[in-house]
Structures are given as C-alpha cells and as structure tokens.
Subunit: 111 residues, 2 copies
DNA sequence: GCTTACGGTAAGTCATGACTTACGCAACTG
DNA sequence: CAGTTGCGTAAGTCATGACTTACCGTAAGC
C-alpha cells in the first residue's frame, strides 16, 4: 500500500511481470485501458489495478480523453531508481576494489 | 522461485526492504552472516534466506572463509537491470517526444 | 431521454513469500 | 575428542497481493 520510499514503490511495481508487460506495451506511446487489456492474459479490472500501482509509483501519466483514459510512461519516472542503482553500483565497485587492495596487501605485505 | 528473466529475479530481490537493508550494510565491504544479522531486526535464518534470494539473482558473491561465509555485493550484478531501465527510459522519452510532436501538429497543422 | 462503450471499485479466493523456531552439519577451540 | 560457533535448511504460520466476478459511475451515440 504505502511505501517508505519512492524507490520501494517503483521496485515493487516493476517486480511484477504483468506490470512490466503493461510498460512494454506503452513503449511505443499512450494507450487506453481497453487496448492495454486486449493484449494481456488478465482481465480488465486486473489491468486497472496494475495501472493504479504503476501510477502511484510515479511511473505512468494519465490523460483523460473523452470517454477514455490514456496511460503513458512518465518521462523521468525511473530517474530515482536509476540513481539508486548507480549509487549501489559505485559503492559496490569501491568496496570491491578496497577488498582486492587489502587482499593483495595481505598476500604481499611489502613490495 | 524460478524467474523468467534475470531482470525479474533482480527486481524481485531488490523490492524487499530487508534485502535492500542487507545490500546497504554490504556497501562498505564484505560481511559474514552473523555480523549482517546483528544489525537487522529479523532473525538470522531470515537473513540466510534473503541472502539466498540475492545470490540467486546474481547480486551477491559468496566466499567461504574458514568457519564463516563472507557475502559481498557482486560487481556487475545490477548491470542488466541498469540496461533495462535505460532502454525503458529511452523508449519513454521517444514516445513522449513523438506524442508531443503529433499533438503539436494537430493543434497547428501547417506552420 | 435510453443504451452502449469505457473504466474504476468492492468483495472474495488463492498462491506466494517473509518470518519464526527447531534442527543438522561443518569447522575452529579447549 | 567434546563443546562451541557459524550458517544453511525444514516445517509451519501469517500477511500480502494478484486475480476473478459483480457492480457503479460517466461520457458518447442513437
């Protein structure tokens, strides 16, 4: 329901295969719910619920258009997630390099 | 259990707050399970299970060291995930630009 | 006005997964 | 060779979330 961070909401949203399928179908542009559900193996209400989760995570934009609602991937939605992964990546590399340096020193204490 | 793609396994692994806490504690370098569990609000077996999930997702490296097992963030583990997000990001931007262009054309068909 | 498409919400079912305690096994330590 | 430490696994409980059908608004078309 409510998540501690935006990162958590986005990761949880992306972890579901149906929701990733929805995003995949939106890669080419906005779609209404009926078109979205037509290409998915689940019912339309299920798609609505997934769209809710994706919207709450900031990954989708909704634009009401007459009778329908167009859903589109939010540009910038995954920015925070990318930044999180980049930091994790950097720290992991630094820690790995540090551990390797330390291991090398223990193997040959002096040059 | 078994996931369709490595992306799915990594996203599922990262979606859990306890597992992200484990990764956070490994940012500075490798740790054995007992040290890892000492700073977390869950039992040690729970930590072991989370470590299994993270390892299966390719996010951790294990190096047996005598009696203990050192866990470390796998350098390169999040590479696929970063690539996935980058593609999603690029496609979303392209679709957004395309939609904006189309909307502008409909608003003012000729210059 | 009435009817039909579109889509969100309610309520209920069922599977999954996060956690616990209890146990088993390997490796240091006296 | 005991006893202890470190850690994985088994078994069971409980909450969550993904899905279904049924229902209710709202906008378009006759």
């Amino acid at each position: 329901m409510t998540y501690a961070t935006a990162i958590e909401a986005q990761l949880t949203a992306l972890a579901d295969p149906t929701r990733r399928a929805i995003l995949d179908r939106l890669r080419d542009g906005p779609l209404p719910v009926c078109d979205l559900a037509a290409g998915l193996p689940v019912s339309r209400p299920a798609v609505s619920q997934h769209l809710r989760v994706l919207s709450d995570a900031g990954l989708l934009l909704v634009t009401p258009l007459g009778n329908r609602r167009l859903y589109a991937i939010a540009p910038g939605g995954v920015q925070e997630l990318r930044a999180y992964l980049d930091r994790l990546w950097d720290d992991a590399l630094a820690a790995f390099a540090s551990a390797a340096r330390q291991a090398a020193q223990q193997q040959m204490p002096r040059e």
